[in-house]
Symmetry: C2
Subunit: 163 residues, 2 copies
Amino acid sequence: MTQDPSADTPAFQDAYPDDLSHCYGCGRLNDHGLKLKSRWDGDETVAVFQPAPYHIAVPGFVYGGLIASLVDCHGTASAAAAACRREGRPLGSDPPARFVTASLHVDYRHPTPLGVPLEIRGRIEEITDRKVIVSETVTAAGTVCATGRVVAVRLPPSMTPPA
Amino acid sequence: MTQDPSADTPAFQDAYPDDLSHCYGCGRLNDHGLKLKSRWDGDETVAVFQPAPYHIAVPGFVYGGLIASLVDCHGTASAAAAACRREGRPLGSDPPARFVTASLHVDYRHPTPLGVPLEIRGRIEEITDRKVIVSETVTAAGTVCATGRVVAVRLPPSMTPPA
């Protein structure tokens, strides 16, 4: 079974301020959502997610939109963590580092079995002040079922909640 | 307000057989899911979806994973409909035409406001016996907030429910 290597340490998403913690995919304050938790594992980032039985595509397999959602939220969280690491400051420090997705690409390489935990693993491909590119794998029962790429950019002022 | 031009006609997803109707994104038999409905509008395909308040990214905006899910399911449904149209047969006829996503790409062009219906519109870019490429737009309140591209392929035997 896939193990999260640091499930007892705070996740990136736990460091977001409250007003940036409502995301359906990863917000700790969204009671309807997926509450994805991403953490460092050396120079890579990792999250483990157990799909619910209703996250189905056809019987026995996970629907692609869930996989895209996991890649998306793990990508923006990895971007925030990588930006803070580059700046030499903790993720929860001010100003909040929060990224949104400019583009998302997912290649579905094998049908993703439903019923086992998924490991989403990210690698920082490129990082500048403005954007972070994260490449990802989604692995189920030892098989890489999907690969993805997120181009994440800083949360624009138009989306930033008022102070 | 965005109007679905043919909301009184059966949707592509209504023609899927029961055992292919469980998808979280578009299955009519998934009580937890989004139940996306896609239809022809001339040579384009269209679906209208009203996000729930909890489909949030940051306050006021839709989370990207939902948009990716809508592009994904509208793309595979459009592929199935286009394949049947090309074969000169109704979508519900045997053998069932059902496609899965080989690759998904979404560009998030503007923040997507939460609280208004989203119109997902598809255009068939390429169609062969084996695959269909669908380009899509996601429009909110008159603004194209996202564009997407789905490469859809026939449901492989490994994912096909036993007869």
